[in-house]
């Protein structure tokens, strides 16, 4: 008898692509009633034993299917927000997913095996568990498997189809845990803040709710902190000593080892002692090989940072484009923390595919001809996905402008990884002049190597130094004391914000872009081009008065686990990892986390006057009183 297999992907585009790869074209497309997005792709396929010759229906969901919410007696006007920490939670099929859920149930009823093809990450695992639950409800005997894949390239997909694995319950649990905590804390804090603060600002700002999110608040906190650092900044003068010596017709500039000092008297005395010494003495000359390291394999965080820096797109846009490229089979899964390639991967084959390009093709060809080097390994491995890399070749001119930029970047980065470090020679001369040390250096780039394909790094030869011998003395042509001034830092840019979120454990690489988009959407921050100039530069973040009031309000409450700080969220991320590793349970994590947030809630309630004062001060422009 033919095995009936139901395959379910996370989104329609993946279902379509995978179905076509497996079926090799012989696909019957069936419409899902009342749903214009989802289709059922039906075909025959010969799986590995024991499944063998099978009749396959390949369909998809549209992300998460279920919705979690409080029962109606816990509606906004009916309860005290604090009750939401312990209220029951109903789980039901979200309205817009009703037809999708029904389709799964119908198909599952007549299937022997449910084969889950959601993306291989925590969210995908959780969606897989939702699909499983729907299927099991109508067909308890259905067998459940999961495909492990990280790109939509044909050979890879066929390989994956042969090796079904089990669903990872722990990862799904970790996601449920986070969802429950986010729901309870989000609702409780949004309600208490809205109830107290919204009426105050009704006249100046129209808002539905003053929304709280456990990632958004600390993210906003970074923006506000930088804003104040810029605004409060006081420039200070500093003094420096500059030495220039003209030798063999070359003007050599020597830099002071102390760079500069913030005391005029001190520098004046040191400067006088230089002049008094008359001659400077060469105490060290060095010529040594130096190199500029090729980049590490590409992670999501790095892609997002580079995107806003070099591709003129914000992180959310970059991720959207990267996902499209992944769905089309051009690049690997773009959500990954891994910056090391598995030794078993055939990277040369991937390089080979890029040889047909007319710009970087020759570079790829050269790698194949012998210049190929195994990429450097970073320290991170999420054990789920390889670093982001090109899977198949496509001519960038056939892509949209934005897709072409992201694809080109991914390819260039990959080829750079597989190339050699740039090599140069660095000459340094150190002199002693009075009691002070000065140095000059000259760089000669000998082999550009990876730089030829990776224009995002800059490394250029500098002026060449004349020959100096150790022990040689000379009277410098010029020695000057100069004055400068410190300048304020810039407002936070997106690459910096992503780096800060990453360093402080806010959000996962996959969700950072969303949190940043959320604080914009909620009117807590605005963006503008750096320095207020033309809009091709980096975007910088400036908080709105409401954004400042919320963070300052919480800062003024002065407790360590403030919502404006990253700790509570960081702890939750750690706990989620623990659930994935099997060292913590959902029950314990929810319990502990909710107790911590309840404590913060109580403090917020007691300190509401402080929060209100911040709103009066920053939003309404009234001084305290």
């Amino acid at each position: 008898m033919v095995t009936r297999i139901l395959c379910v992907a996370e989104k329609p585009s993946i279902a379509k692509a995978v179905a076509n790869h497996l079926a090799g074209g012989a696909v019957t497309i069936r419409h899902v009633p009342q749903n214009q997005f989802t289709k059922n792709y039906c075909f025959d396929y010969n799986f590995q034993p024991p499944w063998g010759a099978s009749s396959v229906t390949f369909t998809s969901v549209l992300g998460h299917i279920m919705k979690h919410d409080f029962p109606s007696q816990y509606s906004w006007s009916n309860c005290n927000p604090r009750d939401l920490f312990d209220a029951p939670i109903d789980t039901f099929v979200e309205e817009r997913n009703k037809t999708v859920a029904k389709n799964i149930e119908q198909q599952a009823r007549h299937s022997d095996i449910l084969y889950i093809w959601t993306d291989c990450d925590r969210e995908g695992e959780h969606i897989g568990a939702e699909i499983r639950d729907l299927a099991k409800k109508v067909n308890p005997r259905i067998q459940v498997k999961r495909a492990q894949f990280n790109n939509i390239e044909r050979a890879h997909v066929i390989q994956a189809a042969r090796r079904p694995i089990e669903l990872d319950e722990r990862q799904a649990e970790a996601v449920s845990t986070r969802m429950e905590i986010d729901l309870r804390t989000g609702a409780a804090f949004s309600r208490i803040l809205t109830n107290h603060l919204k009426p105050m600002i009704r006249d100046v700002q129209e808002l539905k709710v003053i929304s709280y999110g456990s990632c958004q608040f600390p993210t906003l906190g970074f923006v506000v902190d930088r804003y104040f650092r810029v605004r409060n900044f006081v420039p200070e003068p500093f003094w420096s000593i500059k030495v220039m010596h003209n030798k063999e017709g070359i003007k050599v500039n020597f830099n002071w080892k102390r760079v500069h000092l913030f005391d005029r008297m001190a520098v004046t005395i040191l400067y006088e002692r230089c002049l008094q010494a008359k001659t400077a003495k060469v105490i060290k000359t060095q010529k040594r090989p130096t190199s500029k390291w090729r980049p590490l394999p590409l992670t999501t965080v790095e892609l997002q940072k580079m995107g806003s820096r070099f591709l003129r797109m914000d992180s959310q846009k970059v991720m959207k484009i990267a996902e499209d490229l992944y769905t089309k089979g051009w690049i690997s899964y773009p959500r990954t923390e891994t910056d090391q390639f598995d030794k078993g991967m055939d990277l040369k084959a991937l390089v080979q595919r890029q040889t047909q390009n007319n710009i970087w093709g020759p570079f790829a060809q050269n790698l194949i001809a012998g210049a190929f080097q195994w990429p450097k390994s970073g320290r991170n491995n999420d054990k789920a996905h390889p670093p982001i890399h090109p899977v198949n070749y496509t001519n960038p001119s056939t892509l949209s402008d934005e897709e072409s930029r992201v694809y080109s970047f991914v390819v260039r980065r990959f080829l750079a990884c597989c190339s050699s470090d740039a090599v140069g020679e660095l000459t340094t001369v150190e002199i002693e002049y009075g009691s002070e040390i000065f140095s000059a250096s000259g760089l000669t780039v000998i082999a550009r190597n990876y730089l030829d394909v990776y224009p995002y790094d800059k490394w250029e030869s500098s002026q060449q130094l004349p020959v100096f011998a150790t022990g040689e003395t000379f009277v410098p042509t010029e020695a000057k004391m100069s004055e400068g001034k410190t300048s304020a830092p810039g407002y936070l840019t997106e690459p910096e914000l992503i780096a800060l979120m990453d360093a402080n454990g806010i959000g996962t690489d996959a969700t950072m872009a969303e949190h940043i988009a959320k604080i914009k959407e909620r009117n807590y921050v605005m963006t503008r081009s750096q320095g207020g100039g033309s809009n091709n530069g980096n975007q910088e973040f400036i908080p709105t008065t409401l954004g400042v009031a919320l963070i300052e309000g919480y800062e003024n409450l002065q407790f360590a686990t403030s919502l404006s700080k990253p700790f509570l969220r960081k702890e939750l991320e750690v706990q989620m990892r623990a659930i994935c590793a099997g060292t913590a349970t959902r029950r314990d994590v929810v319990h502990n986390s909710i107790e911590q947030y309840r404590d913060v809630y109580n403090r917020s309630e007691r300190g509401m006057d402080t929060l209100k004062a911040a709103v009066r001060n920053y939003v309404l422009g009234q001084t305290n009183g």
Binding site: F233, V234, A266, D502, N504
Partner: protein, 231 residues
């Protein structure tokens, strides 16, 4: 041991450390100690007491052990003061960092952002948009100190080479011994060759300095002159 023998034992111990207390201080010290205390412990206690005392009342003065009267003369480009001179630290500044950045660091510390487990990273290296005239976050000084001798004369000292034990964690009232120190334009040029750090503290001065530190940095950054300077 007779009390005069005891006094000379204590005195020679202190002198071996470069400290030469006046007879009044020694008498007062001995009268505050119980006779049963062993000599070795007594020597230790005396040294700690003396490094925690104000040297303008505790030390002997001689022409060699205090600064020359014209020490501040800025027209003297360079001279050497032989000493040894014991001085106490009245003020210390890190002149390698801007005052504002030091103030920001203190405030971050007050907010608990440097406490273990509660660190907040505010700047990620390599990500900040370039402004190359920012002071480095880590600094080895140099430090500029206000040093006072037994006569009460205060003089600026500046590290021209790092001296171990001199740094922002130093107590106000710490004692140093200076020997063969070069003085340029009225400023002592400190280097390991000519400085011995004895440590110590003057509790009241230290407390006031700590309390006023943020205020001092703030005013300093805004270049509002302090109400009273050294001398």
């Amino acid at each position: 041991m007779s009390s005069s023998n005891l006094a000379s034992e204590i005195l020679s111990h202190l002198q071996s450390k470069g400290l030469n207390p006046n007879p009044t201080w020694v008498t007062n010290f001995l009268s505050s100690q119980r006779p049963s205390v062993p000599l070795q412990a007594l020597k230790q206690t005396a040294q700690i007491r003396l490094t925690h005392a104000d040297i303008t009342t505790s030390l002997q003065r001689s022409s060699k052990s205090v600064f020359p009267a014209d020490i501040h003369n800025a027209s003297v480009r360079e001279r050497k003061v032989v000493g040894p001179i014991v001085v106490q630290v009245l003020d210390i500044e890190d002149i390698g960092r801007s005052k504002w950045s030091q103030l920001e660091a203190l405030e971050a510390e007050e907010r608990g952002e440097t406490t273990k487990g509660r660190e907040i990273i505010r700047v990620v290296p390599g990500e900040a948009t370039e402004s190359d005239n920012q002071a480095p976050v880590q600094s080895n000084g140099p430090h500029k100190l206000t040093l006072q001798d037994a006569q009460g004369t205060s003089v600026y000292g500046m590290e021209i080479v790092n001296v171990e034990g001199v740094g922002m964690s130093m107590n106000i009232g710490s004692k140093l011994v200076l020997k063969d120190v070069v003085v340029a334009r009225g400023v002592l040029l400190l280097e390991p060759r000519c400085v011995v750090v004895l440590g110590g503290k003057i509790e009241e001065l230290h407390k006031v300095w700590k309390e006023k530190r943020k205020e001092t940095l703030k005013l300093g950054a805004q270049q509002i002159p302090p109400t009273s300077g050294p001398r």
